[in-house]
């Protein structure tokens, strides 16, 4: 059981149990305030009844005409609250609002190519790889899985405005781009 509610600026005072995890980045104030002042309806938290934060999602909507899409910028759940479908529920709401409020055709997100757990999860939620972006994450350098550690998959999920599933292609993993357009 968790409360799904809007992300509020003051939540920054209490997201330590989520953000101290090494895989979650803490950005400057401007980053969060920019999201909240532009797409507040795409930013949510999950909280325990005690008020303790469990996870959050920050998203945006961009593009024009048939490229309008929702985008998951940050999705994170504190270690002790994983495996409770929190990420799934937050993403589902983001998809719904992308469609209802922004008339999006698809939702996309970027994930490190070596993050098999996350990739599996997103595939389970209906996302598939659209393309591979070189050097998207520069921070860790090249490790045991070579370029997988710094490259990102751009994964997409078609919404009902894309009935012909134009945001899905079978060979997405082979579509390599150097930069995000």
């Amino acid at each position: 059981m968790s409360v799904l509610r809007p992300f509020r600026a003051a939540d920054m005072f209490s997201f330590n149990n989520i953000n101290l995890d090494v895989w979650t980045e803490t950005y400057g104030l401007a980053f969060y305030l920019n999201y909240l002042s532009t797409w507040p309806d795409l930013c949510y938290v999950q909280a325990a009844p005690s008020g303790r934060l469990m996870g959050y999602i920050l998203g945006n909507a961009e593009g024009s005409s048939s490229d309008i899409h929702g985008h998951v910028t940050a999705l994170t759940v504190a270690p002790e609250y994983r495996r409770l479908s929190l990420a799934r529920r937050m993403t589902a709401l983001l998809e719904f609002v992308s469609e209802e409020a922004y008339h999006a055709f698809f939702v996309d997100l970027f994930v490190r190519c070596n993050n098999d757990v996350a990739i599996d999860m997103y595939e389970g939620m209906g996302y598939s790889v659209w393309r591979r972006i070189r050097h998207y994450y520069g921070s860790l350098g090249v490790g045991s899985r070579g370029k997988d550690e710094e490259d990102a998959f751009d994964m997409r999920k078609p919404l009902s405005r894309d009935p012909s599933r134009r945001s899905v292609r079978p060979n997405g993993r082979e579509m390599i781009v150097e930069h995000v357009a």
Binding site: P6, M12, G28, R52, E80, L84
Partner: protein, 916 residues
Amino acid sequence: MERQIRPIYEALDTGSNKSAILACNKLLKKHPKNELIKTLKALALVRSQKVEESLVLCDEVLAAKPTNDAVLTAMMHVLRGLGRHKDMVSMFEQACKLEPSNEDLAGQLFFANARILNWKAAQQISTRMHKQFHQDRYIYWSVLSAILQANDPATAPSMRTLLYKLAHRLVTSSPTPSYVNSDRFHLHLSILRELELFDEARTLLDSEVGKNICAASLACNELRRDIWRVQGLFEEEGVKAKARISEQNDRNWLEFLSLLDATLPVKGDEKLDESKCREQLAETQEFLTKLAETDGVKDRSALLALLELEKRARSHGLSSDASRMVDLMKQYFDKIGDKACCYEDLKPYLVLETDDAASWTSFLQSLTPSFANTNDLRRLINCHKLLRQNLTPDDLNISAEACHWAPDLPPTELQPADDLALLAANAFVSLWKLSNDAKYLYNAVALLEFALTKSKQSFHSRLLLIRIYRLLGASSMAVEHYRAMQIKQVQLDTLSHFILSQASLFSLASTGDLTYITECLEASQIYISNTQDTGEYIARAFMNEKYSQIPEFIIFEDRLENSLQRDIVKIEHLRMRLTHEPISSDIIDMELIELKFIFDRLHHDNRDFGILADYQPRVSEKLNEQTLLLNKSEGAGWLSTFLKIYIRAFQQGSDLDDSVEEKLLIGDRPRQMVPAGNLKERLRERRDEDMAELTPDEVMFVNYATALADWLEPYHDHARPPPSVVLAEAAKQTELKTGHPLKGVEIPPKNGSTNGSTKKDEEPPAVTDAPEVVVRYFDAMKARFEEAKSSPTLALHVATMMQEGFLLFVAETFRFKAPSVVKVNKLGALVQQFKPLRANAVTLLREVSASLIKQGELDGTAEQRKLFVDGCSMLSALNIDHDFVLGVAKKLTDSRKKTVGEVGKGMARLCTTYNN
């Protein structure tokens, strides 16, 4: 021209302020009147901390009443840098008058007012903007401004409803309905809730478009739910919630709460219709039981809702089955026990009657421990956490093997085992608290360090280690772990207390080591970005019409701006600074102004204490309290006490009285929230609840400081040069620096004095003996030090409070160091009194210093390491390598050696500096 100016912008963008100034100077020779160049130069000057020079240019540009977009934009940055937000308002007012049809300028004027929270003006401006530019959004700017004015604490309560009514009239006057945009809709609803116009709210919410908005906007739906609740429509809301849960598969806990509230209130005094309640109870139980079966382990909401419902049924005496509560808990554990959150989920239900408690405990004890896989391990950990939570005081005595599960630590090196190490560390801390035997802390340190080798990113282990290392006086180890967590941005406000609380007692700034001073400055960065960024995004939210966010941003900005931690760090920084920089009138003046700004803030405590992994039993003290340095947590009372001491001391030592400060101070004054009385009287005020936040040694320091200030006040007042002389001197300095006279200051005709020390006609106040408290302070603290020696942290605390007393003495007597001041003011007899006081303090401080240095050397010996290793015998069953434990022992003792020894050396150095 544009081609010539571009390099200036580039220099500014890259932070090369020097070359920007040079480029401006060059261009100004050709175009001495150019406002843009002047403004850009002013900006470069502000950014290079050359405030006085910048002011001159800034005033020139303001006087020219600019309307040019580039000039205004650059001026915004200049004025913001100088803290002159009110001037920003007048600048845009002027510009708007000159160009009344310029919509952008009007918008800027609106934002400038919003920046200083002048919502009344903002409301009027936006109303005018709507009339003139016919954009619907300006109506909503005006609506929100009226609401924000109503919510402002400075607004009279009687005005509140009027302003909301105004907002309501404005919303309904909009040519387009509010539902065209969910944030306008949200704003509209919030007015209706406040004015209790429920029928109107209902019409909006029951409409098709209203329903659609609420479905896609959590914020609007939140407000809708609230409006329903305020009206007491629980049953209706319950029906809706039930439908959402069963038909739309919604698992938001808020829906379950609505369902529960419709069934049984949490606890109310009102008389319930018992038979109806029983009926509803049975119905909801059945619904939830079925749901729990369908959801299985996929979602725990229904299972937990059953528990919550049973708890409520019991509190109303409606529970029909005595064993149901524990049965539900067992069921919960069976299904969810392998999830990490199980313990936290069950925690609210663990307060049980004797029989239930026994049944629950025996259930947990009967579980067969298994480490076979991660799930089993999590189950085991949850079981231990739950058992520990319910330990009674009897279970907690030392003879009970409270850390009996420590040997359970599996060799599997799984990360979930972190929690076992944390549990054991919690138990060790309890044992330490009961026995006061440091060996339990040694065990905790070795175990947590070991856990970190297996799970390098366990921030919970690090946080607890920081606390324990500080308790043991191993300050550099605490800093090492703190830095490894890469705390940054807003976390600096919530988490820096882990190493900066009472940090001046570990600071080695007196020896030139700036570790803690750097941490203080770094932690303070976030407040600067708050000032720069948050206001910007408030304006952005207006532009984007995200009205729901604006009140939140304002609260956020205020909480950060007036953060308690911010000013606690400020005090710690000041205390360290005084040990590092020579005490001078510059420091005294600057700190005085800063501290006075802080003094009237209404502070918010944003510190995160809940982050510590606390697995202590319900009856025990919390882990946070157990591991606080010196057993105290600094709060608003602590802060206010130290502020009073230093403001009073610096006010006495400074020549800047209020009238001088008024003339010299740049920028806006802090917004006065509390009705300020006479500052002098308020500085003398002492409240018992404030003193309760202080350690006994800090109380001694406060008594000493108060007596010292009471004693010296009349002499300072006598010797302080009159404001006219101070101002004349300041004007002279400014003119030397900038080549321009100081604005608004008239230099009085000179009357023979050259160095500011005017010959006094009146007699000095009679010199009295130093008060007993002042005379005895250093002896008393020395005696305290002898008692405290066995605890490294307490010894450091007493020693540094003694040192602080000495530095305060130096600051308080600084004015009387100049022989000319003593002579003109005829205070020779007073200065004679200082000599024996100072000599006594120096002698005693040197003794304490020598003792600390000796203690430091002792800490570095093999015996100390052996003591640690021997103390860790409780960990032998874990097969932790002996060399590993020895390594931890070495790091800890070396760190303590450094802290204790260097504080001692720094103290000796200060004695030499201020020996006469």
